[in-house]
């Protein structure tokens, strides 16, 4: 199986989850309050606006479903900062 780790600005987290629901992935796990740095600069959540932080969404599923999700998610990454990492994983339970 494949593990897709999506790091996306928190303002778009709901949209990403909606896309994952539409694609019909087996499930996903969300970690909020991610800080960090990327090519668009540092994100350290040091203000009240909620827009300078990211969320990490972990999706584990079959290769084809993951690929479908990636194709639909590329749209979000056109305007919002973040990253997608793909790795191999074995599901035990």
């Amino acid at each position: 199986m494949k593990k897709l780790e999506i790091i996306i600005e928190s303002v778009e987290r709901k949209k990403v989850c909606r896309i994952l629901d539409e694609v019909g992935v087996k499930g996903y796990s969300i970690i909020d309050d991610i800080q960090g740095r990327g090519k668009t600069g540092p994100k350290y959540a040091q203000d009240l606006s909620n827009i300078l932080k990211s969320s990490l969404i972990i999706v584990v599923d079959e290769d084809e479903t993951i690929q479908k999700a990636i194709d639909k998610l590329k749209e979000v990454f056109k305007y919002y900062s973040g990253k997608m990492f793909l790795s191999d994983v074995k599901v035990i339970e």
Partner: protein
């Protein structure tokens, strides 16, 4: 003369002093940290508190014609300010429409905390103001954002293909944004519960108000101070815009409002609403509707330059201008 003494007496206000302490503490690289969840909860506390108080005062004084003229004034300001800001940014600052619109949205919207600080200022001068001004603030939260999006569209229809869908996203998320619902809701509740209801919640929402504001401003001082590093990214033009635009908005508003004949306290509040820039609600709305705009600009300007300017210099200055103008 009175402006100087007002500005100086600002420096004997615990609210302003703790804001400065927070700011200075970041320069000293001190590690005081008020957790984000507290900041968010205090913001909610303020909106409930001023909504309740405002609504209760309307229930006592009744609804008069001033309410209708105020609504007209608010909507006028809520349209004029973002338009002026946009035009200055695009044609004087030479910024692209997207960034001009993003920043204009912030300056056309309002800062609840600046409003609350102005209320505290008026209370300390025992200068009266109308309860419905809280409702005017709620009214002025959103229009500027849509006005700015409209300006971006008409000046740039081909480049931003996504604007329409992003705006739809925004409408879905933002027509009833947190501040608007909370302010209007608290206003209505304050109006409805009468003396008995207000007395029940007074020891929590009314009496400790200034103390809570003091703690919040310490926090804001630290948040603003941490963004000083971004001043370089903002650049000289935007730095000065962040100080001059409030003065322009203030002047326009004092003129307009005096035409309507509002009280000194109400004109100050209109002025503060016009001169303040949102840094809670507008950034999220703009990030959804105009993702190509650079957040470093609008967050740093509204939070780290305009907000400190307004509460330290602006409020006493506008008060002086208003009294001069009358």
């Amino acid at each position: 003369m009175e402006f100087l003494s007002d500005a100086l007496s600002n420096f004997s206000s615990p609210m302003i002093l703790f804001f400065l302490l927070g700011f200075i503490s970041t320069i000293l690289k001190s590690d005081i940290e008020i957790p984000e969840v507290i900041t968010k909860t205090l913001a909610i506390y303020f909106m409930i508190a001023i909504g309740l108080k405002g609504g209760f005062e309307i229930s006592k004084s009744g609804i008069d014609t001033n309410l209708y003229t105020s609504i007209i004034n608010s909507l006028l300001i809520g349209v004029i300010v973002p338009v002026v800001a946009f035009l200055i940014l695009k044609f004087v600052g030479k910024f692209d429409s997207t960034n001009s619109g993003a920043i204009a949205a912030h300056y056309g919207s309002v800062s609840v905390v600046t409003f609350v600080t102005a209320i505290s200022f008026l209370n300390s001068k025992t200068e009266p103001y109308s309860g419905f001004m809280v409702g005017m603030m709620a009214l002025m939260e959103s229009p500027a954002i849509f006005v700015s999006l409209f300006l971006v569209r008409i000046f740039n229809s081909e480049k931003i293909a996504s604007l329409k869908s992003n705006t739809v996203d925004l409408l879905k998320e933002s027509l009833f944004n947190a501040s608007v619902v909370l302010l209007f809701g608290s206003l209505l509740i304050g109006f409805a519960v009468g003396e008995k209801g207000i007395t029940a919640v007074k020891p929590f929402f009314i009496e400790p108000f200034n103390g809570v504001l003091t703690l919040f401003l310490l926090d804001m001082g630290m948040i603003a101070g941490k963004r000083i590093a971004e001043f370089k990214a903002v650049g000289l033009f935007l730095f000065f815009f962040a100080i001059i635009m409030p003065i322009i908005s203030a002047s326009i508003t004092i003129f307009l409002s005096s035409l309507f004949g509002f009280s000194v306290g109400d004109i100050l509040l209109f002025t503060v609403l016009a001169a303040s820039a949102s840094y809670i609600a507008a950034p999220a709305a703009v990030r959804i509707a105009l993702p190509q705009a650079n957040p470093a600009y609008y967050i740093t300007m509204s939070l780290a330059i305009t907000f400190p300017f307004n509460i330290i210099v602006g409020i006493p200055f506008y008060y002086y201008l208003i009294n001069m103008f009358r």
